[in-house]
Amino acid sequence: MASVPSPRQRSWVRWAGPLLLVVVLAVLPLVFPESVNEIIARIGVFAVAVLGLNLVMGYTGQVSLGQIFFLGLGAYVTAYGVSNDWNIVVVFVLACTIPAVVGLLVALAAARLGGLAIAMVTVALPIVGVPLAKRLSDYTGGSQGLSARFGDAPEGTGLYDDQWRLYLVLAIGGAVFLLTRNLVRGKYGRVFAIVKKNENVASSVGISPYRYKVLAFTLASLIGGVSGFLYMLVIQYTSPETMSFGHSIQLLAAMVIGGAGSILGSILGGAYYVLVPQLTNLVDPSLTALLQGATLLVVLFVLPGGLASLARPLGRGRRSSHDRRGPTPPITPSATTGSGTAAETPETERQGHP
């Protein structure tokens, strides 16, 4: 961000926005009915899962069809830890690190392969994961799955369980979103975007595409693990079904519909993942698959950049006010060729080019 007319005003705006958001998020669970709190909590779970997918796919451009595996792994680790009465902080750390380590190992092997080969390796994850979860029944409960209830509201808070759990989801999910936002807007995000755009050019300035692909994949796995922890917190049950391949594709669709390479898009993707099946159930429960498919197509045709592109006009307004401040550059005739895309790409929400 370049200079702004009044620095004092700028800092006011900078702090007021997030502060208001925090206040709103803190108050809403108290006023919403239980059913809405539960829906928002579920949206939080899948928004985090979509965020992880976005990191590796939307920002770094590596096709991953296995994100649901890391959610499932995180959920299983959480369920196992909770049912063995481990300290919940330890459980959380394990639910992050175990998927991250598995993701790292997979990435070290897969990122050497180009293009579709990575996609095929990631396809294998849920396909191997489901029978593995059934097989390792001593740890996973087999095909009957594992139930684990935790995160009940502590005595003395005066909160209902759903309110307390939603606060936990908002706190953990919010932290993950904040960290990821800072990551993708900083140096790493810049490098991810460069690797996505052109690996050769990335190499020409000394960037190792391999290293950053592995990094993105590992972080996506870690975030997937966090979403698995939240999944157990909210759903309280996991089974091999949790990580079935179909759900991985649904996550992918949610990411594209929300907006690839967009923080806001990840939240919208999570909302899509949770709300659309419920809304289609209200329309006609026997036609849910058809209605969901139709919704997907309509969104993609009307908003190819995903739902997040609806928020672009705001970003554009901000950006053009930037340009007006700077000295007007001499525009050579050929400059107009590329300027269209620039105006549509706000600095704050870097959209992936298809």
Partner: protein, 417 residues
């Protein structure tokens, strides 16, 4: 910049409130305090009761899932058309059913439960072990009945562990046990080979079978192998079992194409034992005929429901009423493709029995009434089977009868031949 940030915030708040308005169910109200007074549970008034179902209506299991809704909807549709169902508290109520699709996704099943629990009196009939397990704990915590659900998972029939649950269909052990008993009582000496799926499904069948033949001097298990549900071939296992010289094979397999190829492989090896096939992989059209089942001396399976397609039941009163109602009230115009349609119809009849025994319009009283049904022969049940809910650890239908393939369908048999 100010203006833009503000309008963005305003948008956020607008979205949040729209979400709240469109999705808000009933506001927070303790446990029961419904509007109809007298401490009635949610979902029941003096004139109507509402039941909820979460079941797969899309995806790979949509066929059976659709049946689980159709049968019970048809049953109560017909009853409602006659004026309703007589309850034990002297009132007559119509029965409404609200069914939601979960696509066999546990997470969606939990979401469906969350959205239904405030509106319905009880949840029933939904298909699937993981999808029912996903909200079992929540149903217990909320004290919402989750009854007559379609899962062979014994947990739902464990009264201690699952006070607000009751499974409907026989558990896997019941099926294995029924065949084991028949074999043990046959008098002849038998060598049995066991091939089972390496999960709780296969293990349940084998456990039931072994408990029934334990101590029977005439039954000897000569080979026992497993396979993975994801395997594409069991040729190696069949070859190995054929070498054991068994004259009976207990095939606890849930995968249709594998069952067909197992039947074919045995013939190829010229190994012709008598077969036991589980109820869900014994379809005459989909398994036995393509597998060339006629080559074997006998193929046994188990059942508790009349097959409407069987010529033996073409003139059966129950079957005709059922098929007519399914068309008229069940939104299911075709011939039922899965037994789940029949089972769901029986769920309707069983619920009616429980309703008739209820003395108060509460979920607690409903559970008490539901657990007091003894030897109720629901429509479409085969002779020799009945609904019994009084025995702990057993599903509502604990008994199955062994049937033998007759070249077209199955006939109930009394003895092993």
């Amino acid at each position: 910049m100010n203006m833009h940030s503000r309008s963005r915030k305003a948008l956020g708040i607008a979205v949040a409130s729209a979400l709240a308005l469109t999705l808000a169910g009933c506001a927070r109200e303790g446990g029961g305090g419904g509007a109809s007074g007298g401490g009635a549970s949610p979902g029941i008034t003096d004139t109507a009761v509402k039941l909820g179902i979460s079941t797969p209506l899309s995806g790979a299991t949509a066929g059976p899932g659709t049946c689980t809704v159709a049968g019970v909807t048809a049953y109560f549709g017909a009853k409602n058309a006659e004026g309703g169902v007589a309850f034990g508290d002297g009132k007559t109520r119509t029965v409404e059913i609200e069914a939601l699709d979960d696509g066999y996704d546990p997470q969606r099943a939990k979401a469906n439960y969350d959205s239904l629990k405030g509106d319905v009196f009880a949840m029933t009939a939904g298909l699937g072990t993981p999808t029912n397990r996903a909200w079992r704990d929540a149903a217990i915590a909320d004290e919402v009945p989750q009854v007559l659900v379609m899962t062979g998972d014994p947990l739902f029939s464990d009264t201690e562990e699952s006070p607000w649950q009751l499974g409907f269909v026989p558990i896997y052990q019941n099926e294995g046990e029924a065949f084991g008993k028949l074999l043990a009582s046959s008098g002849g000496a038998h060598k049995v080979a066991i091939l089972s799926q390496n999960d709780d499904y296969g293990a349940g069948y084998v456990e039931g079978f072994k408990s029934a033949v334990e101590g029977a001097g005439n039954v000897q298990i000569v080979g026992e192998l497993t396979y993975e549900a994801t395997d594409t071939s069991v040729d190696a296992q069949i070859t190995q079992l054929a070498a054991s010289g068994a004259d009976v094979i207990f095939n606890a397999m849930s995968v249709t194409p594998l069952t067909v190829s197992a039947l074919q492989k045995a013939q190829q090896l010229n190994w012709l034992p008598r077969w036991f096939l589980p109820s869900n992989t014994s379809s005459p059209g989909a398994v036995v005929e393509p597998g060339g089942g006629a080559a074997f001396p006998a193929i046994y399976s188990v059942s508790f429901a009349k097959a409407p397609a069987s010529p033996a039941f073409a003139e059966d009163e129950d079957v005709r009423t059922y098929l007519a109602a399914l068309k008229e009230h069940g939104n299911y115009p075709d011939a039922p493709a899965f037994p789940h349609c029949q089972w769901s119809w029986m769920v309707g009849a069983t619920l009616e029995q429980a309703f008739a025994k209820m003395t108060a319009p509460t979920r607690e009283d409903f559970m008490r009434a539901l657990r007091s049904i003894e030897n109720f022969e629901a429509p479409l049940m085969l002779p020799g089977t009945a609904v019994s809910t009084t025995e702990a650890g057993q599903p509502a239908v604990p008994t199955v009868v062994v049937q033998k393939y007759n070249g077209k369908g199955y006939d109930t048999v009394e003895a092993f031949e």
